[in-house]
Amino acid sequence: MTDPESLPERPRPLMAGFSHGIRLGLPVTPGVIVFGLVVGAASARHGLSFIQNLAMNIFVFSGIAQLVALEAWPQVITWGAVATLGVLAAVIGARLFLMSVSMRPWFGTLPAWQSYLGLTLLTDASWLIAMRYYGEGGRDVAVYFGAALMMMAGWVAGACAGYLLGGLVVEPARYGLDLVLPVFFAAMLVPLWAGRRRAYGWIVAGIVAVVVERLVPGWWFIVAGSVAGALAGGYLDEAQPEAEE
């Protein structure tokens, strides 16, 4: 939104970067809040206490995984159930692993405490904001923290409100609010656009994801499409020497 062209390497005040990050997170925040509302309401339905709901949303902070886990939430929790919920979180969160991989070029240059603290806040939206910012030459980690903490704030606020309001939540689909996240993602394709050669990878990603979604149950289509698209895009990119930015 603002000054993507500004000199990236010049140090600037911490708060300037932080508030820039908050601004970058703003468009997607309504979607994060609404998603949080749904998850908070599900927590209440399945007998979590307010504090447990809060803890889950802060420390797990993985929307789809939480929603699916809560759908499968057992009446009586045994060690077997704990293990099952852990596996569920791993399978559904698998795409976060890919996102984590792609944070290496940027976060690898930071002190370990900053990168590993930053990674606790890694979500689809904060990652995408980070990738765009980095792609445009940005290197100020305060921007990442601003955007990521904005996501966390919206998420926790939504989840607490959803817990307290429960079934009173109006259906988000009516106002299109269930589509805020995908719509934001789609919009991010525009700044991510890096020429037609890169687009072959995108096409591969889309096709593989649709096919895998039809054939394999669960969320593997995201991982499969992403890996296929990144490999295709990466190898085609390599074939073109001046494509490196």
């Binding site: 703003l26 979607g31 007998g47 447990q52 803890a55 995984a65 886990a69 009586v76 929790i77 045994t78 060690w79 077997g80 704990v82 919920l85 979180a89 791993a90 969160g93 976060l96 692993f97 890919l98 996102m99 991989v101 792609s102 944070m103 976060f107 690898g108 990674l119 606790t120 990652w127 990738m131 009516r174 299109g176 589509l179 805020v180 719509v183 934001f184 993602f185 789609a186 919009a187 394709l189 525009v190 991510l192 990878g201 591969v204 990603a205 096709i207 593989v208 994801a209 979604e213 289509f221 995201i222 991982v223 992403s226 698209g229 990144a230 895009g233 990466g234 190898y235 390599e238 490196e244």
Partner: protein
């Protein structure tokens, strides 16, 4: 494995999910510390964000029907013309609400 953990069980479940999720969040980054960032690896990593976005939104558009497709297309057009994230989201979401209100 079958003993009832009582109310503490919920805490164990939350802790398990939190630990596993953090291991995933940090794991990719940690792993890549041992992989040299050659040009090819960088190219693949550069291609990853677009691929992830496509892998998420294309199946959603295929499954989500007219409202989802309209929302995504409107948002893409608005972003291309306006170069403003917030504007693009408002336009896309508004378009989806309009489509749903009209018929679907």
């Amino acid at each position: 494995m079958t003993a009832d953990l009582g109310t503490a069980g919920i805490w164990f479940a939350i802790a398990a999910m939190a630990l596993v999720t953090y291991a995933i969040r940090a794991g990719g980054f940690l792993l890549m510390g041992y992989v040299p960032l050659t040009r090819r690896v960088r190219s693949i990593l550069n291609a990853l964000p677009g691929a992830v976005v496509m892998a998420i939104i294309v199946p959603l558009a295929v499954r989500g029907g007219v409202a989802a497709i309209v929302a995504i297309v409107v948002s893409l057009v608005a972003m291309t013309l306006g170069r403003n994230d917030l504007l693009a989201v408002v336009c896309g979401v508004g378009a989806a609400a309009a489509v749903r209100a009209l018929a679907f």
